[in-house]
Every structure is written in structure tokens, then in C-alpha cells.
Symmetry: C2
Subunit: 180 residues, 2 copies
């Protein structure tokens, strides 16, 4: 008997499949094969596929709300450095899970609400950073939202090498968005 799995192993496997191939690839029997067990194990841990999906959303919510902000805060202390770190981190991240969640959110109102809440927190954080570096109050929100949209949008872009996009965003766009 191998080491036994717990629920979190299944949730991780589900999120990996989601990120890699989309929601349609999150299949009970496929995940079981990925984990080298059979679906008996799955049904011991979960009522049905919907149960797993709900737990996946919750797991994503927990990590997504605080992950990027915590990392940026840990790495830099003044707002300008934090903005730079935020850009650098997002622009070099693998956005597949992020975008798979958004694809899912577009089709499921419950998931949509979770993503909206996450977006609101992140945008508020960016806005506060912009305000801290002297961007006028009348513009900080708009710039934060536009910036956030661009950072999300670049995960689904078919032009430009990722490294080039990161460099130009740091050298050209961030200074532009930061103007007082």
C-alpha cells in the first residue's frame, strides 16, 4: 500500500490539470491516473466532481488573494521598489492557472465572484502604491486598473517574447504610469 493521499493532493492535481489543459481536463479518472490511484480513492475523499471543483476554487482564492502581495511586501519596502517588484514578478510568472481561473470565471458566476474579489484587492494594492509615490489621487485608480488589466492581459498575448515585454514594461511603461 502506497502512502495514502489526502484531499489536498487531489486539489493540487486538479489545479495543475486546470492550469495545463483547462477546466475540461479536470476529470476524476484522469486525475486518479495522474496520482497513480483509482477513483475509489477520489470518492472516499469527495462527494463528486463538483465537490473537488469547489475546493479548488477555495484553494485558489486563499492563495491568490495574498500570494503576490505578500511576496512583493517581503521583497521590497518602499512603494517605488514594490511597484518595480510587482511588475517584475508578474511579468515573469507562469500565468496559466491565473488565466484558467478567469476562463472558468467567465462561465460560472460563483467563480466569477471569487475572481472579482481577488481583483478588487489586488487593484486596491496597486492603487495604494501609486498614491504613495505621488500619483495624483484623481488618476491613481484609473492607472492601477489599466496597469492591472495589462498585466493580466499579457498572459494571453501572442506577440513579443516574455522577457522583452518585461524589460520594456519596467523601463518605459512603469515610469510613464508613475508620473506625478
Amino acid at each position: 500500500m502506497k502512502d495514502s493521499l489526502d484531499r489536498s493532493a487531489w486539489v493540487s492535481a486538479g489545479l495543475a490539470a486546470l492550469a495545463d489543459k483547462g477546466l475540461d481536463a479536470v476529470r476524476v479518472e484522469r486525475l486518479a491516473a495522474d496520482l497513480n490511484v483509482t477513483k475509489g480513492s477520489f470518492y472516499w475523499h469527495f462527494r463528486d466532481r463538483g465537490d473537488l471543483l469547489a475546493m479548488m476554487v477555495e484553494a485558489w482564492r486563499t492563495s491568490a488573494t495574498t500570494d503576490i502581495i505578500t511576496r512583493v511586501e517581503a521583497k521590497a519596502s518602499d512603494p517605488a521598489d514594490r511597484l518595480k517588484t510587482l511588475f517584475a514578478t508578474v511579468l515573469r510568472a507562469d500565468g496559466r492557472l491565473e488565466m484558467a481561473m478567469r476562463d472558468w470565471a467567465a462561465r460560472d458566476a460563483g467563480v466569477g465572484a471569487v475572481v472579482a474579489e481577488t481583483d478588487a484587492r489586488r487593484v486596491a494594492y496597486v492603487e495604494a502604491l501609486f498614491a504613495s509615490i505621488g500619483v495624483p489621487a484623481a488618476e491613481a485608480g484609473a492607472r492601477a486598473r489599466f496597469t492591472y488589466q495589462a498585466l493580466i492581459g499579457q498572459f494571453r498575448m501572442g506577440v513579443g517574447a516574455a522577457e522583452d515585454r518585461a524589460r520594456e514594461a519596467l523601463e518605459i511603461i512603469l515610469p510613464l504610469m508613475s508620473r506625478p
Copy 2:
């Protein structure tokens, strides 16, 4: 006997299902039901589902490459007005098909190549507009790409009412991105 369908009716139905519910919803029997026929008709017109999918990509490529540019060009004549029209048009568009194509592109290299080509043309158009209004050559490309990313990204955003986002982008962001 009802009026007979041709291939394009099937392709349109496929694109509608894709936009509305994602690639997984593009199903032969479901499309047949949507069109009030049975799958016998489908298999007269197409070899298999893959045949339909390929034609859908081609149809999207044809329309996506020229659609937005043609509309903007028809509606406005000077570059500043064209930029404004571009923003206004995209920000008020239903981006579901656009994003469904991107979701698909993320998982299929062939589709990814089509989307990349489309993106390149659109970004080049935006860049040319920026250059025409006096944005420095060293910055026009970066600004065009970032702007394009943000316009794409806003289709998958969970914050802000669409109309508010459009207004603030037109009044605050476009002027900022247009600075010489």
C-alpha cells in the same frame, strides 16, 4: 424540408457556442440541435469535428485581422480620433469570442499562431497611430503593446463596471499614453 444550411451556418453556430460557453461546448450534436437539424447534415458538410474547428479558426482569422481596424478607419480620419475610436470600440465590445479564441490558443499551437499573427497586426496598427500623434519612436512600441494588453485584459476583469472603465480609460489613460 426546411431551407438547407451551408457550411457557414455551422461555422457561425460553432463560433457562437465557443464564445458563449467555451471550446468544450462546441459539440456536433448540440450544434445540430441549435440549428434544428440532426448530425446527418453535419457529416455531409464536414469530415469530422476537427474539420469544423479548423474552419472556425479560419473564419475568425479572416474577420479578426481586419474587423476592428476597418471599423476604426471608416469612422475616424485623424490618428488621435482613431485612437479614441479604437478605445471606445474595444472597451464597449463583447469580448467573449476574442477571449475564447485566446483560451483555445493557449492550448493549441496552431490556433496560437493565428492569434499571434492577429495580435502582431493590431499592435502594429496601434503603434503607427501613436507614432502619428507624436509619441517618441523609442516609446511607441512599448506603449502600443501595453495598451493592447490592457484592452485584451479588460475582457477578463472582475472589477469595475464596463462603462466606468471605458470612460476613465478615455479620459485619463489615453491622454497619458499619448503624451509626447
